[in-house]
Symmetry: C2
Subunit: 404 residues, 2 copies
């Protein structure tokens, strides 16, 4: 008997038949004598539908009201999943984020989990019920509904796994696991049987759609070993855990492409202390994630600042930058026709030559590099969005990932 936390994503619970399918999977595991907490997302498409409706009534909806709105997506799935379990004779009870005792800070639409009071849930669990928890949502100390941002359901699962000391945490999704590259783009991409938190983190932060950074960070912090696998078959997935020694033999473990980024160039600002701070403080106050910052100083004491922001936060970034630029001078231009390509591997720490191989492969394919940034275990470049898929293929080949 094990205590298992499972998470099913939006496609896995996309319609009534898929919910029944998930219920049958849960029953099998329950019938084998396991304790089971299941986190579900909103049905695929529901969150986007709700956002579209919100934008139709108000171009810049309040984030507090967005959370009131978006949290209903998961609330629908938990109730339907619990009902589907009842329908096949499994005792189950659904919990909203608030009911599951998931307390967050007050940052609407991007709340952080502060603490989990899992006592009521554990009581139901010990009485033999399967617990269905709404992913992606919590409650703050003022009793306001909060949401955890995209990918928040994974975070809910991992945080619950830590809180109830689960033996296993399984993240079910519509892909088989983590691949060396997006298999839709790179035909001979290989599935990885395991990967370290750090590598997964970089892949997540770089647009590999499997998981969001925060969930992996949380898992790493609390040492929650989890498996990413498909709810549509029984193939083993990819296990994500702390780095182990033999992992370093592999130089590069994956190539990730992120097309949901915009490049921002803030030009002609005064080259003096505090200027960059003003710009990035304005973005930070608006909770915008900035990446790949580069500063060039040109002639006559003026500087250019270049960085990337998520495409979905471009409008917020435009609004946040306006007052800051009034203060420090300069103007901002936005380029949406870019993509970020990255190679990731803990093996890079102890080997050189990865950058050279990457730049060489891209140069041969005629791909221009607009920005470069590196960390201990990854190298990222900003390139033209139109060239991104082809670039992924040549880089994948250059590192021999098809033979991994």
């Amino acid at each position: 008997m094990a205590r298992i936390v499972q998470k099913y994503g939006g496609t896995s619970v996309g319609d009534v038949d898929r919910i029944k399918n998930v219920a049958r999977r849960i029953k099998e595991i329950r019938d084998a004598g396991n304790e089971l907490v299941v986190v579900v997302s909103a049905r695929a498409g529901v969150t986007n539908e709700l956002i579209a409706r919100a934008k139709a009534v108000c171009p810049m909806p309040s984030e507090r009201e967005m959370d009131q709105l978006l949290s209903i997506g998961e609330q629908e799935t938990i109730a339907l999943t619990a009902m589907a379990l009842h329908g096949i004779g499994v005792e189950a009870v659904s919990y909203t984020g608030a009911q599951a005792g998931i307390f967050t800070d007050k940052v609407h639409t991007k709340a952080k989990i502060k603490t989990i009071n899992a006592a009521p849930l554990e009581k139901d669990l010990e009485s033999g019920k399967v617990i269905i928890v709404a992913g992606f949502q919590g409650i703050n100390d003022d009793g306001q509904i909060t949401t955890l941002g995209r990918g928040g359901s994974d975070l809910t699962a991992i945080a619950l796994a830590a809180a109830i000391k689960a033996d296993k945490c399984e993240i079910y999704t519509d892909v088989d696991g983590v691949y060396t590259a997006d298999p839709r783009v790179v035909k001979d991409a290989k599935k990885l049987s395991e990967i370290s938190y750090d590598e997964m983190l970089e892949l997540a932060s770089l647009g590999s759609k499997v998981m969001q950074t925060r969930s992996v960070e949380f898992a790493s912090k609390y040492d929650v070993v989890f498996e990413v696998r498909s709810s549509f078959n029984n193939n083993p997935g990819t296990i994500v855990k702390q780095e182990v020694a033999y992992m370093e033999k592999v130089l590069v473990r994956g190539v990730a492409v992120d097309k949901d980024q915009a490049k921002v160039v803030v030009s002609n600002i005064a080259d003096k202390p505090g200027t960059a701070a003003t710009v990035f403080k304005a973005l930070a106050n608006a909770n915008i994630n900035v990446d790949m910052i580069v500063q060039n100083v040109g002639r006559q004491g003026v500087a250019n600042l270049t960085f990337t922001v998520p495409l979905s936060e471009k409008d917020k970034a435009v609004a946040a930058l306006a007052p800051a630029l009034k203060e420090v001078g300069g103007e901002a231009t936005f380029d949406e026709a870019i993509a970020k390509l990255s190679v990731v591997g803990v093996g890079m720490r102890t080997h050189s030559g990865v950058a050279a191989t990457l730049f060489d492969a891209l140069a041969k394919a005629g791909v221009n590099l607009e920005l470069i940034s590196t960390s201990e275990i990854k190298i990222s470049v900003v390139i033209a969005k139109a060239q991104a898929d082809e670039a992924a293929r040549v880089v994948h080949k250059a590192f021999g990932l098809e033979n991994l």
Copy 2:
């Protein structure tokens, strides 16, 4: 300046454009300096969609899970309505039933409001914000989401009006007010400018779709005067209040037809004390509303019990009756091809001859009476569903309601 509670039904907030329309109405009233609490229902059709989805995963969904599910309908509308108000520059904040402090008992899908803690809401109201409250829902002492049953949004509005001592309560719907009969069936039906709680109660309980009984009862108990009117025009509606003397001049104020009833005949049960009690206790324990009870004693000490139940509760009634009939003997048959027709008017209390006029009109139209029941201010008959519309027309004419 007045403190106003308004309630908009599902058709009034049926889509994004209608929600924006409601927001504009609210803004006008707010701009005139009024304090405003607005109760909204789920978008028309949403609740039925959710019920259909629930039944697709489980034929008899648990009522606790039904409430988790159905409450999302209103939660969507409150958020969208608040956003639509923000979009036109009106400060507004949405409240779920739980956030609005609407505490209920523990009867899922049909909870009764026990108390309202309106303090947080009043604080926002006094600070000038428009308050948007989810109708139809509350929370019980265990922190479980409850729903108030169909028509629950009206109840939310009237209970809030009582709790915050509102000056006015306006129930906006897709009809202009209360008519002497359903205008879609009886062409020359007239709109009533006012009606007593008692008359409204009988009309509500008899299938006039304007409002549910419980809301009117609640209004009567707490003396909340309210107006039923359309959100699609500015016509005055029907004011509902305590009876006033001149109302008695009118003998019959309306003809109502309820097609959502099933007739139940429990036959061949032993004619001895306690038999009927066993049958109706079983139905009461399942929270099924029974009406128009008639008992006939036949030969050889066996009796027949006849009564009506709401069509929507037929399956529950079948399940509830089975063990009771095992105990007392007899069998139950259900007839869905019936309708209940009623004439209502406080004037009946002091006048005779209403029954004679009614039966005569129906006899002339060839309508057979299957059951008859009367109260102080109404007479109801069960007839064939196929004859119900024609029966409404001849009865309306027989009482001269087209000249009211």
